[in-house]
């Protein structure tokens, strides 16, 4: 509810996120004048700190994989 500690915290996080959106959008339009560049703004994750977002939604670990080469392509044809 409005005025609660949680509300104040989330509102503060939201304001910081909005500032970040502006920086990201400015960077894309000012530094690179590229066509179709991504737009950043308010969505369902905007009241979430980057740390919480990362911990909640980014749950994949990476594994080092071999580079695909022509050899990999031929290898599958071997008996």
């Amino acid at each position: 509810s409005a005025g609660s500690l949680q509300f104040i915290h989330k509102y503060h996080v939201f304001q910081q996120n909005v500032q970040r959106h502006e920086t990201m959008n400015l960077f894309s339009s000012n530094f690179w004048n590229e066509s179709g560049s991504a737009v950043y703004g308010i969505n369902q994750f905007s009241d979430m700190s980057p740390e919480v977002f990362r911990a909640t939604y980014l749950g994949s670990r990476s594994v080092q994989l071999p580079k695909y080469t022509l050899f990999s392509k031929n290898a599958k044809k071997l008996p």
């Binding site: 939604y57 749950g59 994949s60 990476s62 994989l65």
Partner: protein, 214 residues
């Protein structure tokens, strides 16, 4: 190669899902790849259980995270039958693994491939057409704020943290891009999808790529 291609146009891609507050993107990406592989092989397109992979892939940590490659290794070694979503529905929590008998209706994979296509995205285009939708592990930190358009910056390589599925590409415009399916619901991005610039390994899109075969 065609200048534009999307497996969605072939009706072999299931609707975008929502992983909610469960860090199970790794399981969703693998299951979505298998769903498409089945449909490409001529079977009916149907939702398979991501919850089964979340609960049962013992090399991973369920909703606390995992790796698509580990899930594929488990599916391939165990030949576990992936049942329908309706049989083993998603509940956004890691639970006890439910086992199904070998006679149960479901899909088991016959194998998988996993490679890095870094600096080789042209070949990756070819493989997308040959193999079907591709699982990719990317850096998605900046995706928290994404609304639409083609991601070309604010994304790093070599720091992958999120698993997605590449369903197509579009190289007809000034900025060629990959069409990438996410699992954060349809309200996020472009109806649940995100576009990533091709050719520069943006977000590490080509670093860790896999596909399952049925």
């Amino acid at each position: 190669l065609p200048p534009k291609f999307d497996w969605r146009d072939k009706n072999v891609v299931t609707p975008v899902r929502n992983q909610e507050s469960c860090g199970g993107c790794w399981a969703f990406s693998v299951v979505e790849s298998i769903e498409s592989s089945c449909a490409i092989k001529g079977r009916q397109l149907e939702l398979l259980s991501a919850q089964e992979v979340i609960d049962c892939s013992y090399r991973d940590a369920g909703c606390k995270g995992g790796s698509p490659i580990n899930a594929l290794i488990w599916l391939n070694q165990s030949k576990a039958k992936l049942v329908k979503e309706s049989v083993y529905p998603f509940n956004a929590k890691t639970g006890l693994c439910r086992y199904f008998s070998r006679s149960a209706l479901g899909v088991s994979i016959t194998g998988f491939k996993a490679y890095s296509f870094r600096y080789n995205e042209d070949v990756m285009m070819e493989k997308l057409l040959e193999w079907g939708p591709l699982v990719a592990v990317v850096d998605a930190v900046s995706w928290q704020d994404y609304l639409g358009g083609i991601i070309q910056h604010h994304c790093s390589q070599g720091q992958s943290n999120h698993a997605v599925v590449i369903t197509g590409y579009d190289a007809t415009g000034d900025t060629p891009y990959w069409i990438v399916r996410n699992s954060w619901g349809t309200k996020w991005g472009v109806d649940g999808y995100v576009y990533i610039k091709m050719g520069k390994n943006v977000c590490g899109i080509a670093d860790s790529v896999a596909v399952a075969f049925v």
